[in-house]
């Protein structure tokens, strides 16, 4: 856990840097327990975790842009060329 003291309680500043490791399940059981111990007594950090979760949920809703007809036609042309048996 990148230089964070082993036995003392985590600080808020450390918690915000460990959020992703925690969400990814990349912390050891012991590290994870320390993380949750901090959350149990720190409402602002719970709020922060909520903001990160909302952020991820919003990113997950991004929709890709529609495709130009011209490009679609070009690729279909490619497909048809591909489908043709070699002479």
């Amino acid at each position: 856990m990148r230089g964070f003291g082993r036995n003392r309680a985590l600080t808020c500043r450390e918690v915000v840097e460990l959020v992703t490791d925690y969400m990814e399940g990349a912390l050891s059981a012991k590290q994870s327990a320390r993380f949750e111990q901090h959350l149990a007594f720190c409402d602002p950090c719970i709020e922060y975790l909520g903001q990160i979760r909302t952020t991820v949920a919003l990113v997950q809703q991004l929709a890709p842009a529609p495709v130009d007809q011209e490009i679609k036609d070009k690729l279909l042309e490619l497909y048809r060329t591909w489908q043709q048996p070699p002479p």
Binding site: T11, C12, R13, E14, V16, E17, V19, T20, D21, E24, A26, D43, P44, C45, E47, Y48, G50, Q51, I52, T54, T55, V56, L58, V59, Q60, Q61, L62, P64, A65, P66, V67, I71, K72, K74, L75, L76, L78, Y79, R80, W82, Q83
Partner: protein
């Protein structure tokens, strides 16, 4: 009409169904171009890389086993093609030192919150606010450094697993996590300007 799954489209493509190819193009073309643009500097080269990707798909579709999702395979082929098109023009930038997830000025000398996070407004109840938030998210992702943008896009927009992202981009699990962390933290900061710090 029910939307076909990727695997259904692959089956139809194997059977020589042109419409299946058209549907795959509809579904993935823009996403592949966006991905390729991360590696090459001009739009034409990105289009070329994506065209190569489709050719590779047509050539390889019979061998596709479906163990990983189709999009993981597509993205991996696309990244490889784009990289060879880039021909050392640009490389995936290293992880680097990066900035902290939260402005250090928000913490007191004891490393506890001095200006604590605010509760964000409920977006589900406010369509205008939700649309504005989505614009912020899009812009924030576009501003991310290349490697963070790739990881956030593949993980959170495309929904690949961490293992799939590591394979597509040839990065380690640890690097992938660091990039994801920096990217998500930056998007959160951008949203915080709108939804509450």
């Amino acid at each position: 009409m029910a939307v076909s799954t990727d695997l259904e489209l692959v089956d139809r493509l194997r059977a020589g169904d042109e419409q299946a190819f058209a549907e795959l193009v509809e579904r993935y073309q823009a996403r592949l171009v966006g991905l390729a643009r991360q590696f090459v500097s001009n739009p034409e080269a990105a289009q070329d890389a994506v065209q190569d990707t489709w050719l590779a798909v047509l050539r390889g579709v019979d061998r596709f086993e479906g163990r990983a999702p189709l999009r993981a395979w597509l993205f991996q082929v696309c990244v490889n093609r784009a990289r060879s098109h880039a021909a050392k023009e640009r490389r995936l930038v290293p992880v680097g030192s990066g900035e902290p997830a939260v402005d250090p000025a928000r913490f007191g000398p004891d490393a506890r919150w001095a200006t604590p996070p605010q509760h964000w407004v409920e977006l589900a109840d406010d369509r205008l606010e939700a649309a504005a938030a989505m614009d912020r998210v899009r812009a924030a992702i576009e501003r991310l450094p290349q490697s963070q943008q790739l990881v956030v896009t593949l993980r959170d927009v495309e929904g690949l697993t961490s293992q799939e992202v590591c394979e597509v981009l040839s990065v380690s699990e640890a690097n992938q996590r660091v990039l994801l962390h920096r990217g998500r933290s930056a998007v959160r900061r951008a949203l915080g300007d709108r939804l509450g710090r």
